[in-house]
């Protein structure tokens, strides 16, 4: 007994390591590993929680066969991929612009840095759902500020932003780009500040123009930050839920419904856990590829 207490008071590296890591791995097992196992398991069952019909019926690959021919599923997948392909490069370009502006020598001119820094942090800290609500108000057909500005510039008819499929999709993408570009800018700004000034000075001596300096020095030196920011943004873009949910609820019809929204609807609203799980597994596979890319990157950095 005394030996045991002694060991607990001054444990070996290995025992201590196990003890310290145990809570983290216990939680991960409970909230990540077990649910994923359960998810895959459920995807082979006809499992509905609605109407008291609780008994699960094994259906093998039937759900998967259904998914393959499910128009709604492919429609939502198409929307999700489109949102990713539009908003990730969009946020990169806007974020890079913001980072370049924020990297100007404010301090040397006696200007405070905090308003600029706070302006980059605020969109990041704002809940996605709030960004969706606020921009839905911007894009309001009757009283939105966007249509008012358009009217002042001579637009005759107000655009029904959130009520027409194409416009709604555009409004959602604009909102996502605004919301995510400032996080991008923060990451890129940190990268910009790491580039040694001497590189630019040397280029100046060699007579390189600003434009050349940007493409020959800034972009290549920034590449590691860009790649990390891009991969991470892609992973979150594939999960897009909050902004379309608060702006259009996936409408009009299901024009702006994403994969996450379809899965949420199927499971939480219709309580069709079996089929919802199958769609979730498919989404899981989609994002796994991107995740693997990201982890490979982290591994290289370490």
């Amino acid at each position: 007994m005394a030996a045991l207490i002694d060991r607990l008071r001054d444990p070996s590296e290995k025992t201590l390591g196990l003890l310290l890591l145990a809570p983290a791995f216990l939680l991960l097992a409970l909230i990540v590993v077990y649910p994923i196992g359960k998810l895959v398991f459920n995807s082979f069952f006809d499992l509905r929680l609605s109407g008291g019909g609780g008994a699960a019926r094994f259906v093998g690959l039937e759900n998967y066969a259904l998914v393959l021919t499910d128009k709604d599923f492919w429609h939502a997948t198409k929307n999700t991929v489109l949102i990713t392909l539009i908003t990730v490069p969009g946020a990169l370009v806007v974020g890079l612009g913001l980072a370049l502006l924020a990297n100007l020598p404010f301090k040397k001119m006696g200007l405070p840095m905090w308003p600029v820094r706070l302006a980059l942090l605020l969109p990041w800290a704002l809940p996605l759902a709030f960004a969706g609500l606020i921009f839905a108000w911007f894009f309001h057909t009757e009283y939105g500020v966007v249509n008012d500005v358009a009217r002042r510039f001579g637009a005759d008819e107000p655009t029904m932003w959130l009520l027409r499929p194409g416009w709604a999709f555009a409004a959602i993408c604009i909102t996502i780009i605004w919301k995510t570009s400032s996080f991008m800018a923060l990451i890129l700004l940190a990268g910009l500040q790491m580039i040694p000034r001497s590189l630019y000075e040397a280029a100046e001596v060699d007579g390189a123009s600003r434009w050349q300096q940007f493409w020959q020095i800034t972009i290549p030196m920034l590449m590691p930050s860009i790649v990390v920011a891009l991969i991470f943004r892609t992973i979150t873009a594939l999960q897009t839920f909050d902004i379309p949910y608060t702006m259009t609820k996936g409408g009009p019809g299901n024009a702006t419904e994403t994969l996450a929204m379809l899965i949420h609807k199927t499971t939480i609203e219709y309580l069709d856990v079996g089929y919802g799980s199958t769609m979730a597994v498919c989404m899981f596979v989609l994002s796994l590829a991107v995740t693997a890319l990201y982890l490979k990157r982290i591994g290289q950095q370490a």
């Binding site: 444990p11 201590l16 310290l20 890591l21 809570p23 983290a24 939680l27 409970l30 909230i31 990540v32 077990y34 649910p35 994923i36 359960k38 459920n42 502006l101 404010f106 001119m109 200007l111 905090w114 308003p115 600029v116 302006a119 942090l121 605020l122 969109p123 800290a125 704002l126 809940p127 759902a129 709030f130 960004a131 609500l133 606020i134 108000w137 009757e142 009283y143 500020v145 008012d148 009217r151 990451i187 940190a190 991470f232 992973i235 979150t236 873009a237 999960q239 839920f241 909050d242 949910y245 996450a260 899965i263 949420h264 919802g276 979730a280 899981f284 994002s287 995740t291 982290i298 591994g299």
Partner: protein, 272 residues
Amino acid sequence: MKTRLLVLLAAGIVVANGFFPAAWILLTSLKTEAELVSKPITYWPANATLGNYVQAFTDQPLLRYLGNSAVVAAVSTVVSLVVAALAAYAIARLNLRRRQLILTCIVASSMFPLVTLLVPIFETMRTLGLLNTYTALVLPYTVLNLPVCTLVLVGFFQSIPKDLENAAMIDGCTRLGALVRVVVPLAAPGVFTAGILAFVNAWDEFLLALSLNASASMRTLPVGITLYQGEFTFPWPIISAALIVAIVPIAVLIALFQERVVGGLTQGGLKG
């Protein structure tokens, strides 16, 4: 002089981009319903009123939402910090094999799409009767924040000289004693940074809060405000007031600690 003007212009663009939605919502929250539906729309409120703020608190249990958000975010942040600090110490300090693999495993968990975890978590919480409880959100939020907290804290632990700890152990401290008396106080800034990131993450989360705690009294702020129902239409002035109430705490937090937040975000925090 010309450069100064250009730099000022650049600052103006960045500031305007960051603040215009919040500014517009603030203006909207001060307008009366009648002014809001007048055309053409006004930019500056004609008869500024605080009535919308009163109504935001009386029409719906906004105070309750605020409390729910605070409890869930605070508790999950504290638990996450404790668990992450223990794990980060082991990874940064102990002579373990495969520490990189361990860190990768913890980080990888945050890369899984939340909605795929949602389905089984929802089912489990439903079976356990935990839907519409704080536990239903605190548990997943804690895990959600583990990767960020662990990454930030590993960095901080690694920056503390190992000699300090060794000196404490020579002076008779046990290993755990050295951890509590030497390492934790020195890592306090790191713990604080990780804490802010975790708190903001939990405060902002929407999908789980919407799915697991949808009953009126258990909603967090994002869910409560999104599901706010007016009698006939979506009551924009009141919504705007509620949004301002919900944004202010988090804005003050990041304004006070902006340098730490930026440091934490760019070092290890990786959130969209």
